[in-house]
Structures are given as C-alpha cells and as structure tokens.
C-alpha cells in the first residue's frame, strides 16, 4: 500500500480509501521530511514545557518545601475555594476584566494606527527617527515610568495643574478611583505604542506597491488608499494579534498596578494579580497563587478558543 509514488502537492481527486491508517500512511509519505524538521521543536516543548507540567498539581496541594511537590498533602479544591470565597473576589475579577477590555479597546488599535501613519511618511530620515524614538518608553524601567506618572498626576504635578486650570479640583489624581483606569490605559498607550507597532510596520512591507498605483490611477486619495489597501493587507496579522490578546485577557500584570495603586483606589485598581501578590507577602502561598494562576489560565484558554472560532467563521485567519 505504501508505494513510493511521486509526491503531489494537493490531492484534488477524492480518495476512495479514507480510512485513518491509509490517510496516516499517505500523509507520512508526503510529509516525512517536515516531521523530521519538527522533531527538535517538539522535543524542546516536551522536555521543557510538558515534562515540568506535573508541577501544576501544586494548586491542589498544600505545598511544603521539605516534602516536595509530589509529597505534599492533597487538598483538592481548597485553595480555589479560598479564592472564590474571598470577600473581594468579585471586585478583583471585575477590575481585571474591565481594565483588560479597556486596554483592548483603546490601546490595541493605537500601534496599528501608528504603523499606518509611519507608513505614509515619505521622508526616510523622519521615518527612521520616529520609529526609533517612539518605542523607547517600553525599555525604560517600569519603576521610573510609574514614578513619572505619579509625579505628573500628584497635586502640584504638571498634568494635574493643567487639568486644574480647566476646572479640576486639584487633588492627587491617583487618589481618585474613577481616574485610575484612564490613567492606566493612557500610560499603557504611552509605553507600548512604539514597540507594538514594529510588527505591523514589518507586515506593511509585504503589500504590493502596484496596488497603490492602481488605486491612485482610479483617483483614490491617501485616506482611501489606507482604508482599502493597507488595512486589509495587514489584517491577518491584526487578527492573530487580537486572538492572542484575548488569550491573555486575565493577565493584567501586577508590577505596574502595584507601582501605581494605593488603598484609596483599590475599588478600581485592585486586580487579581495584585491581590494575590499581597497575599503572598503574608505567607509563602505558592499553592494559592498556583491555584489562581490555573483559574486564570483556564479562562484565558476558553477565551482564546472562542476568539479563534469566531475569527475562523468570520474571515479565514485563525490560529487553527
């Protein structure tokens, strides 16, 4: 059966024998070199990601360092229960989701817009300069960035003064719960816009300039060209990035939150990761944070699957 027939790219003729083993063998004959190429990668994932994965059970145990992970006592869902019945559970979940959605809504598009704008610039020097400078905040230590934000928004700070001039009451802006989310999202944009635009700029390179020519001849202005050519050109990349972002929805990183928040604004600023962090300061808590992490991961994965599914139906870009 497994005759060594010459390889053909796409079988457009329906095959009569559609049993699994037959397909398996044909596929193998067809693609064995590919599988060979894949070995190092799969081996890597197996050794360094799957082999250690048993450690995830720590979420179901009362971890004692002396006994190790496997030897620690089994407590089932006790940690999850602790987490779900925490007085603040709904609040931190709500805050996490809201901050994530706001970021998705407002911060996600900005690098794309930046990439489009940069693409329109003719002057090479200006173009290079903009690219190089706009991504710098991403590299400056978060401690410094947050220090600046606090400085600017405190009573007497530059931004605070500006708004006071426009009618604001002049109190430290990071002491007001309703101001936290805007400050957070805006500063995310500030930090990330340059760095995240890089991939879109790269994707823009692959668009055929001839399409622009054709459009110009048809009388399209720059804005229309952007809308009908450029944007669709990088749509696959945008969609993939979006799906991946959905898979990270519950991961609002705690470092920045911790540097910016304070108890006066916990009601909008306290998220899952910052809460777990404070708990970790009181006790070792590896099991607890593991359990919370597991919860996060499960939800994130479900979101990813959903996003991927929808994307597949709507257009044909998807992860699988």
């Amino acid at each position: 059966m497994a005759k060594n027939t010459p390889v053909e790219p796409l079988p457009s003729v329906p095959v009569r024998r559609s049993s699994f083993s037959a397909r398996f063998i044909r596929d193998f004959a067809l693609n064995k070199h590919l599988y060979l190429m894949m070995i190092p990668v799969i081996a890597y994932y197996f050794i360094f990601h799957y082999a250690p994965m048993y450690g995830a059970v720590i979420a179901f145990k009362e971890y004692s360092p002396a006994r190790g992970i496997l030897g620690s006592e089994w407590v089932g869902f006790a940690h999850f229960n602790d987490f779900f019945t925490s007085y603040y559970f709904w609040r931190i979940l709500k805050n996490t989701v809201i901050i994530s959605l706001l970021t998705l809504c407002f911060e996600f598009p900005t690098p794309i817009i930046l990439a489009l704008l940069i693409n329109e610039v003719r002057n090479q020097v200006f173009k290079r300069t903009v690219q190089t400078i706009t991504y710098m905040p991403y590299f400056i230590s978060l401690v410094v960035i947050c220090g600046m934000i606090k400085d600017f928004t405190n009573a007497g700070g530059i931004i605070n003064n500006l708004f006071t001039y426009l009618g604001y009451d002049g109190n430290a802006m990071l002491q007001k719960p309703e101001l936290f989310r805007p400050i957070y999202v805006l500063s995310e944009i500030w930090q990330r816009i340059g760095w995240e635009s890089i991939i879109y700029i790269a994707a823009l390179m692959s668009i055929d300039p001839e399409q622009y020519e054709a459009a110009r001849m048809d009388g399209a202005n720059r804005l229309q060209q952007m809308w009908y050519i450029t944007l669709p050109g990088i749509l696959p990349v945008i969609v993939i990035m979006f799906i991946l972002r959905m898979g990270n929805l519950l991961n609002v990183g705690f470092e920045k939150i911790i540097l910016l928040y304070n108890p006066a604004i916990y009601e909008t600023a306290d998220v899952i990761s910052s809460f777990v962090y404070r708990k970790g300061l009181l006790e070792f808590g590896w099991s607890y944070s593991s359990a919370v992490g597991l919860f996060n991961s499960v939800i994130n994965l479900m979101l990813l699957i959903a996003a991927n599914y929808i994307s597949r139906k709507v257009n044909d870009t998807s992860l699988w």
Partner: protein, 293 residues
C-alpha cells in the same frame, strides 16, 4: 483635479507630521529624563520634582560607581554571549517550527499547534523547571538561559502567520524543480520574510538582554551572571528603601538615586541600538521581484 489632490495630500501629510512629532516628544521624554538624571548632582536630584529638561549640575559619580564594579564588565561579556548564541538558536528553531506549521495538508499540524499553544497557558512552575534543567545538566552554565527558552510560542505564531502569507506558487515552482523542504525554507521563504525575521531578531534579543530572573535561580557562579542580574544587585544594594538603620552618611543615600538612573542607562542604551540596525531589513516589496522574475 490634480490641484485638489495635491491639497488634500498636503493636508493629510501635515496632520500626520504633527501627530507624529507630538508622539515623538512624548515618548522621547522618559529617556531624556533618565539620561539627565544620571549625570545630575545627587543632592539636587533628590529635592527635584517635575520635569527635567537639563541635568541638575553635572556629575559622573553615579557612572563611576556603576562601572567601578567589575561585575558589570563580566555581565556585559556574558550577556553578549547569551545574545549571540541564544538568538541564533532561537531563529533556527522558530523558523523550523514556523515553516512546518505553515504548510498546508499536513495531518499532524493541527495537533502540533494545539500542543504548542497549550504550553502558553499551563506550566508547572519554577521548581519542576529547575529539576528538569538540573536533570539535563544545564545548571550553572550560560546555556541554562538559552536552551530552555529556545522557542517563544508567541514569536512562533507570528512567524508562522508571516510564512503563510507567502504565495503558494513560489513554493510549487520550486518543488517542481526538485527542491527539498530545506531549500525552500532557506532559499525562498526566509529571504522573502526579511522584515519579520528582523522583528524576530529584535524580539528575541530584547528578551535575552532583559532576562535575569532565571539566571538568578539556575546560575550560582558569579562569573556567569548576565548583565541585568549584576545591575539589579547594585540597584538593590543602593536602593534608598533598603537603608534603614545607622550611620550611613547622607551621600550614600543621595547617590542611590543617581545610581538608579545610571544603571538604567547602562542597561538600556545598548539594546536601544539594535532597532536602528534592524530597520534596514524593513524593505518594501522584496517579494514582488520574486513573482515577476
């Protein structure tokens, strides 16, 4: 007709330039702040609040403190090695994976993708990771920060997406000429994906450059500490929060601030230089020639 097109074009251009200039001003500021702070006089920096548009006085004390520490030079050496060896391995592995995963009609691909994606969500944590690294004998070596991180799944997916965008025709004509997969990958796909490769180099280089956490767990030999780890130690030791009791003279408290900024400069400026280099690979329409020719 042409005149109005020109005017609308010019308007368009102006708007873009203005927006971009504003953005540049706002994103340049943090670096300027850090740069000026790092050469300011410690005493004046401590009492300063608000904008910093020029250094407060001038003093290289902070840099002297940082570079006096020979751990910095050792750190640079180690990190450069990690970058060179690490990014090379990263590119190789990621390209292989992205290539295979981007082929059509490969039965196992769906499984592979899920197999790999799954690891983005679930991991065993630090201790099992430590045990595995120990088990393969990589402890206390620079390779412990390279091999266990040979592929970044996020990057893999991006590269795969890029490969999938290359027209099938190119591949098919090569196959008809008898090319093997390796040839296709290296002679056709990679050259056409230069912008994405450039981005990958940037992403992986930054990841390697900034890494310190795993090094602090896997490496005990101080001669092998990467730069960021050495810098962190200096930062913590001079951290104004850490000085709680006793007779430390005020100078040491003050210089802690400028040292923080000097450290950031030392840690950041080199990697900032990578992007300009990599930008020249962002070349438009490389592929078009391939189709026509």
């Amino acid at each position: 007709m042409k005149k109005s097109a020109n005017i609308s074009d010019a308007l368009f251009d102006t708007v873009i330039y203005v927006l971009l200039l504003l953005l540049v001003a706002v994103t340049l500021y943090p670096l300027i702040y850090v740069a000026f702070a790092s050469v300011s006089e410690a005493g004046r920096l401590v009492e300063h609040k608000g904008f910093l548009f020029k250094p407060l006085g001038f003093s290289l004390e902070a840099y002297k403190s940082v570079f006096d520490n020979k751990a910095i030079l050792i750190g640079y050496r180690n990190t450069f090695f990690i970058l060179a060896a690490g990014v090379t391995i990263n590119l190789l592995m990621t390209s292989l994976g992205a290539y295979v995963l981007s082929r059509k009609n490969v039965m196992w691909n769906r499984f592979f993708i899920f197999f790999i994606l799954f690891t983005m969500f679930f991991s065993g944590g630090l201790i099992p990771m430590y045990l595995v690294v120990r088990g393969v004998g990589l402890l206390d070596s620079l390779w412990s920060t390279i091999i266990p991180f040979a592929v970044n799944t996020f990057n893999l997916i991006i590269m795969r997406t890029a490969f999938m965008a290359i027209p099938v025709e190119l591949e098919e004509s090569a196959k008809m000429d008898g090319a093997s997969h390796f040839t296709i990958l290296f002679r056709i796909i990679l050259p056409l994906s230069m912008p994405v490769i450039a981005v990958m180099i940037l992403y992986y280089a930054v990841e390697k450059w900034n890494g310190w956490f795993y090094a602090s767990i896997f490496i005990k030999n101080r001669d092998l500490f990467p730069l960021q780890l050495a810098l962190r130690e200096i930062l913590i030791a001079n951290s104004t929060e850490n000085m709680t009791t006793g007779a430390d003279n005020a100078d040491r408290f003050q210089i802690g601030e400028t040292i923080k900024y000097a450290t950031i400069m030392v840690a950041t400026v080199p990697i900032l230089c990578v992007y300009p280099f990599v930008q020249k690979y962002f070349v438009k329409g490389v592929m078009i020639g391939a189709l026509k020719g």
